[in-house]
């Protein structure tokens, strides 16, 4: 009696497997094309990050941090941490990771912000998308790493794909919330003066939702960085893979160095995007 009756069993797993097979045979070409396009985009990004001389990056980040965060020693600290990555010998790998994160964030924003806007305008869409976002964030990432692998093959593309799945929800959510929280009276005023919905969106809603959207961008970036490390398991080169190799070979020191580099990247990205977000608020 304590056992759940077998008769009620829903073979969801089988269905998904069948669907996956079908997608692979029927849509394989499509995914190949998309994958190629994404790969080209990523390789360009990576080439750019590797092409820029290290001292230019260090100086640029230093000045950016100083300007955004307001204190000269903030700039020195950020630049110093970047130099530390170089001293560990992980400059190139860090730049590869950064390229992947940048790619993931760009694509997350390109799809996420319009989605957030659409959600803010339709209660129906919001009620549909919200549970999907929950699933995207809570589903263990390995579950969709494998299908991504089957669709796009090994390498950067499935890594990017699964990174986007994980990192896109915050920016969607916060764009949605930001727009919905814009004061009704302000929107009504724009309406009363004859603004159409595009004018209301660009003149009123987006500017006023900007602080919220900036927080979303910050969170999306942090999530992308966290996921890029996991995604290195399916063949994306970068700091994550270094950690993975070190673990496999039980090289504690090496793992620690690579891990520290990831932490440094995280701190720099977080502080800079955070400063950007709070600057918009003023």
């Amino acid at each position: 009696m304590t056992e759940f009756p077998k008769i009620f069993r829903i073979p969801l797993a089988d269905w998904i497997d069948v669907a996956m097979d079908w997608v692979l045979t029927a849509w394989g070409g499509f995914f190949d094309t998309v994958g190629d396009a994404i790969l080209k985009f990523l390789l360009q990004l990576e080439r750019f990050f590797l092409w820029v001389p290290w001292f230019v990056v260090v100086i640029f980040i230093g000045i950016l941090a100083w300007r955004l965060m307001g204190r000269w020693w903030h700039g020195i600290a950020m630049a110093g941490m970047l130099v530390l990555i170089g001293t560990f010998g992980y400059w190139d790998l860090a730049m590869m990771t950064l390229a992947l994160v940048t790619g993931a964030v760009i694509l997350s924003l390109v799809f996420g912000i319009p989605m957030g806007i659409a959600m803010a305008r339709s209660n129906l869409l919001e009620s549909i998308v919200k549970p999907i976002l929950d699933a995207m964030q809570t589903m263990p990432s390995f579950v969709y790493l494998i299908p991504a692998l089957m669709l796009f093959g090994l390498g950067k593309v499935p890594a990017l794909f699964s990174t986007i799945i994980y990192s896109m929800p915050p920016v969607i959510r916060l764009t949605n919330v930001g727009i919905r929280e814009v004061s009704k009276s302000v929107v009504e005023a724009a309406e009363a003066f004859g603004a159409n919905s595009w004018q209301i969106l660009f003149n009123v809603q987006l500017p006023l939702a900007q602080p919220s959207i900036m927080v979303g961008i910050n969170q999306t970036t942090m999530m992308a960085l966290a996921m890029v490390v996991v995604a290195s398991m399916i063949g994306a080169r970068g700091l994550g893979m270094e950690v993975l190799l070190a673990i496999n070979r039980i090289e504690v020191g090496r793992g620690f160095e690579a891990g520290l580099c990831i932490v440094i990247l995280a701190i720099i990205i977080d502080r800079i995007t955070h400063a950007l977000a709070s600057r918009q608020k003023k």
């Binding site: 004061s183 009276s185 005023a189 004859g194 500017p207």
Partner: protein
């Protein structure tokens, strides 16, 4: 009743049988007898909330039309229905002969951009725009070039007395100033009809009065048609050329302010009118008294002294032949005049007597009454003496009115 007849000029706004029902099954209310039931019954039977019931009125160009009612009476809903910020459920709204309810979106937006301007209780300013950009917004939407719209905006800003604040953000301004920006924003598009939804309710009383006075002056100058929503009877009486009183989504009286006070349509209006502090409603001309004794300037001081003693008075006003106020005489002054050997009452009188016109409200008399030990003389615009008001008279008038 809501229907206002008479040989008025062509209305620029006409509302005909407008209904608003909030809820999902509005048809079930509108297509049945249920629509004539009470608000509560409608809510119970259909789940719909009746906000406006069969509203009709006309507004002529240049009129200051006030919609007054307590919160929940539907006045804000009604003013929003006029430009379909809220869609009316049934009825016609004619602005310059065109039915707003039938306009397609584009035409409706054009109406909002060019014909009507709106001012909100919560100001509705764009916090990320400067005052100048806020005021110019209506013109920006219309696609007017930057220089042109800034020029018009600067003019509007000057009109409301905010010159020099163009580059501030609304958040840096006080409530009163923010609402000035709101008014300037609606004036900048040079609308024919100004819709004002409780524009001064969020302001503190002193500022509110100041803004009301300025709006009156502005209206004199610009001659816009104004639809003004308020819950404040004093405001309605002060500003409106006509007042529509609303209750439970219905208009129960449309009249000039005097008529609203003197012949309230029903108990509800009566209560409303009574609620008004008599100090704000009663006027000097109503409460003034004819003095027990008036002295004439050609009378001799001895005669005057006798008259004053006989009538048991402390003092009396002295007037000229053509009934103008000469001054105030007391026992001491008359004795002094007698000692002088004066033949008449043309000298030594107290001339620093508080004066007022019959139109002034009792509230405005308070400072006069407290600043001087003498009664207030009521004079018409030609300076003719009409009567006097003593502190006791003021107090009595207040007691009588509230005691009803």
């Amino acid at each position: 009743m809501p229907d206002d007849s008479g040989d008025t000029p062509e209305p620029c706004l006409e509302v005909r049988n407008v209904w608003k029902v909030f809820g999902e099954k509005t048809d079930s209310v509108m297509d049945s007898d249920l629509k004539n039931a009470s608000k509560e019954e409608i809510l119970e039977k259909s789940g719909c909330v009746l906000a406006l019931r069969n509203i009709s009125f006309k507004v002529t160009p240049g009129e200051f039309f006030v919609l007054m009612g307590l919160s929940g009476s539907g006045k804000s809903t009604l003013v929003r229905c006029l430009i379909r910020l809220i869609e009316p459920t049934a009825g016609e709204i004619l602005i310059k002969g065109e039915d707003v309810c039938r306009l397609e979106k584009k035409r409706l937006r054009r109406l909002r951009r060019t014909v009507t301007g709106m001012v909100f209780q919560q100001f509705g300013l764009f916090p990320h725009y400067t005052v100048l950009d806020n005021v110019a917004y209506g013109l920006k939407i219309r696609g007017i070039k930057k220089e042109d719209r800034y020029e018009a905006a600067l003019k509007a800003i000057e009109t409301v007395g905010l010159k020099g604040w163009e580059d501030s953000l609304p958040g840096a301004l006080s409530g009163g100033m923010q609402q000035r920006v709101g008014i300037a924003r609606s004036l900048a598009i040079n609308p024919e009809i100004l819709l004002m939804d409780e524009p001064f309710s969020g302001l503190d009383p002193l500022i509110r009065r100041e803004m009301q006075d300025e709006l009156v002056a502005l209206q004199d100058q610009l001659q816009k048609t104004i639809i003004f929503v308020t819950h404040d009877l004093h405001e309605a009486l002060k500003l409106g050329s006509r007042i529509a009183i609303m209750r439970n989504g219905e208009i129960i009286q449309v009249d000039a302010p005097e008529d609203v006070i003197s012949s309230p349509a029903d108990d509800y209006v009566q209560d409303f009118v009574q609620d008004a502090s008599p100090a704000k409603v009663l006027r000097a001309g109503t409460i003034m008294e004819t003095p027990v004794l008036l002295l004439y300037e050609w009378q001799g001081p001895k005669v005057a002294k006798t008259l004053l003693s006989k009538s048991d008075q402390e003092r009396a006003f002295v007037i000229t032949k053509d009934h103008r106020l000469k001054g105030l005489a007391t026992h001491e002054i008359l004795e002094a005049l007698i000692a002088d050997g004066a033949k008449d009452l043309r000298n030594r009188l107290i001339e620093d007597v508080p004066r007022c016109t019959p139109e002034m409200t009792v509230e405005e008399l308070f400072p006069l009454a407290t600043s001087s030990p003498y009664p207030i003389a009521v004079l018409d615009e030609k300076g003719k003496f009409l009567g006097d008001i003593r502190n006791r008279t003021i107090i009595n008038s207040m007691i009588q009115d509230t005691g009803k």
